[in-house]
């Protein structure tokens, strides 16, 4: 059932986002060809300005639309009238929430890939075809050097951390929407206030934990250890581990709040 739900998420996103991807990538190829074949002065007139402006607007629109859809799909599909359909499906509430989160995550990753594809296509259009092979070799060597210096594992860890931080932000938004949905009116306002309220709670919790750490001497131990290890692999591993643990805790807390409110306190209009 989860895969079917994600499949419908892909369709719902794709019908809006894919045309934007196609337009951005197509225009980037045309711009690349223009860079290669048109004289430089072609870009100083109004036509060139219009093309560059359209391209910039498309990129911004794609990014904004991806972000908007991540939130809107959750709100419209679960908390508005479509909620009557979704909460009548023979699946658990946790499956519905997970499908929304995974759908948003997949489209965020696809957005990154589309960005890379846009730049690549523009470069392919801009350079003579015989140079493409050489450019690809250069990129490959640069990647090899990067992996040699930082290690493939480091790349994977930072990717994982980026994904986790995105998931934290997403689940905080979902929790805020679920809290705002408890209001009988002005639910969007309630959700916005809930989001900032959660931020305040996070700061308070961080302050309390820090104070506990100071009083128990744990923070001092960590600081002296960090100073000793500064810049070393152990220091970096500590930062990464702390970020992963913090992210996982927040994801679990926000997921639990969202599940409880949608399963036990659902308040469809």
């Amino acid at each position: 059932m989860l895969t079917k739900l994600i499949g419908y998420e892909m369709k719902a996103f794709g019908r809006i986002i894919l045309p934007l991807y196609a337009a951005t990538i197509g225009l980037s190829f045309l711009i690349g060809l223009g860079i290669r074949f048109l004289p430089e002065k072609a870009y100083t007139n109004w036509v060139g300005g219009l093309v560059i402006t359209t391209f910039s607007v498309l990129i911004v629109a794609t990014m904004v639309m991806t972000a908007v859809l991540c939130v809107q799909r959750f709100y419209q599909n679960l908390l508005a009238n479509e909620g009557y359909l979704m909460f009548s499906l023979p699946v658990g509430t946790h499956t519905l929430i997970l499908s929304k989160a995974l759908g948003a995550l997949i489209w965020a990753l696809l957005g990154c890939l589309a960005g890379i594809a846009t730049m690549t296509v523009m470069a392919l259009g801009a350079m003579p075809f015989r140079e493409i092979g050489r450019a690809l070799r250069d990129i490959s060597m640069a990647l090899n050097r990067l992996f040699l210096r930082d290690g493939l594992v480091q790349c994977l860890i930072w990717t994982l951390i980026a994904v986790l931080l995105f998931a934290v932000m997403l689940m905080q938004i979902y929790a805020a929407l679920a809290i705002g949905h408890q209001w009988t009116a002005h639910r969007i306002l309630g959700s916005v206030l809930a989001y900032f309220g959660i931020d305040i709670l996070k700061s308070v919790a961080a302050g309390i934990l820090t104070n506990i750490g100071v009083y128990t001497g744990f923070i001092g131990l960590l600081v002296s250890q960090a100073e000793a290890d500064a810049g070393s692999a152990a220091w970096m591993a500590g930062v990464q581990t702390a970020t992963v643990i913090q992210s996982l805790v927040l994801i679990v807390v926000f997921s639990a709040v969202t599940w409880f409110l949608l399963d036990r306190r659902l308040n469809l209009e």
Binding site: R15, Y84, V91, L266
Partner: protein, 231 residues
Amino acid sequence: MAVLECIDLEKWYGNVKALNGVNLALEPGRIVGLVGPNGSGKTTLIKLAQHLLTPTHGQILIGGMEPGAETKEIVSYLPDRDFLPGWMNVESLLDFYSDFYPDFDAGRAGQMLDALQIDPHRVFKKLSKGTREKVQLIMTMSRRASVYLLDEPIAGVDPAARDYILRTIISNYSENGLVLLSTHLITDVEPVLDEVVFLKQGHVELHENADALRERTGMSVDGYFREVFRC
């Protein structure tokens, strides 16, 4: 054995009591009218049966189970509003129902769409209000469910469409299925009802066989309803 059972069921919204100790047992193979004035708790009862709300006290059981993912496999629900995704066309909606409900009969749905000359390629939100209601009813009644929960299925449509909807309900519900139909348009639904449940201020005022009620009171169900709920 009752397929839908309420035991001392209560639902509070803040300080307002929407359902007040409802005890009810509904058998399969019946069409039951859930009637009552606005605010009597009809929609609340149906939402509790579909796990869209949770009881404050008491229990509601569907096929002996508390409402959840398992009961949704055997319950077909029609809410009192547009609930299908507006961006999907009718054909995609058939696929959606086929994907998620193993008991969905796509052939039967297709026949009903054909009979009403509804183009399956039309986008749902671009259909007229009456046609949207018909599509939603077709989706709901094309399941071979044990329980059909229909919340105000005829409230927003013209009299001709009401006849079609009622015919669709009678001719499509599973023989062993229970149809619980909430409405305050009693005259229209009276001919199809086997039983009636009167809800008044959150409690069951009356639960009786429709024929027996007519015989006992010498009035139609609608007439007796007006008597009981006279303002």
